[in-house]
């Protein structure tokens, strides 16, 4: 599977400009371009940069609207889809948060039907979580 490009690096934290485009320091631009490339390869569709930025921005916006519950959010390339990993401030699984998260999942599926994504709730903190951040970008929260 062609997902080697980000594997040895920690996630890069992305920011957005007022037009909702991804903005990065020049040193990180190459890695984000590779992320875009991998998303295209793994989803078997090559998304336009603008569409991917809109998708990531939607995830960021939703995360910001749930800042009381969320520590950070990562988007990871998985096998044929993207994983959206919501790292919560809770110490345990939260059924109510899950319901809100799946409503968002349904909204994403309608709005971004060119991309397959799976949402995940992971009790934090991320530093103590066993999750892999290989091939991921951070769209919300403090840098790790």
């Amino acid at each position: 599977m062609p997902t080697q490009v980000l594997s040895h690096d920690p996630p890069i934290r992305i920011e957005f400009d007022p037009a909702k485009n991804v903005v990065l320091e020049s040193s990180k631009q190459h890695r984000f371009l590779m992320f875009e490339h991998e998303v295209g390869m793994n989803s078997r569709r090559v998304p336009e940069t603008r569409k991917l930025s809109e998708f990531l921005y939607a995830v960021r916006e939703w995360s910001e609207s749930h800042d009381a519950q969320l520590e950070s959010t990562f988007v990871r390339i998985a096998d044929g889809h993207l994983d959206i990993m919501f790292i919560t401030k809770m110490t345990d699984y939260d059924p109510n948060f899950n319901d809100e998260m799946v409503d968002f999942d349904l909204e994403l599926a309608k709005r971004f039907d060119w991309l397959r994504a799976e949402v995940m709730q992971i009790p934090g903190p991320v530093s103590e979580s066993p999750i892999s951040l290989r091939n991921s970008v951070q769209v919300y929260g403090d840098s790790i």
Binding site: H81, D92, Y93, N98, A109, R116, M120, I122
Partner: protein, 115 residues
């Protein structure tokens, strides 16, 4: 491709396994077994509707598209079992008890939707 009846038989077999394990002692296996009951219930329903899926990603998408109410109950089982199996995350009894409640809702919904 398995038939509706074969999926329901496998769901029942997995449910019997789920009923026999010590759920308090093995919450990770509880959510995993519950998920595999749900997989076959969902597959029975999709097969009945003529929807062919051959991967978790495809099944998830079909549930989102055709049965969003069931998807809302199915998703936590998928998510928790995936994390129990692959990420070594500790599954708590809060999570496994919620998974069992959601499996009951899926079972009732599928019973109502199948002829």
């Amino acid at each position: 491709m398995a038939t509706v009846s074969e999926h329901l038989d496998r769901a029942n077999e997995n449910q019997r396994f789920l009923d026999e394990i010590d759920q308090a002692r093995y919450p990770g296996w509880t959510v995993t077994a519950a998920f595999y009951v749900a997989v076959h219930l969902a597959s029975a329903l999709l097969t009945d509707r003529g929807i062919v899926v051959d991967s978790h990603t495809d099944r998830n998408q079909a549930l989102r598209d055709s049965f969003p109410t069931i998807w809302k109950q199915y998703h936590p089982l998928y998510d928790l079992s995936r994390q129990a199996r692959y990420s070594c995350r500790k599954i708590t009894t809060t999570a496994s008890e919620d998974a069992l409640r959601r499996l009951e809702r899926i079972t009732r919904a599928v019973e109502l939707l199948l002829p």
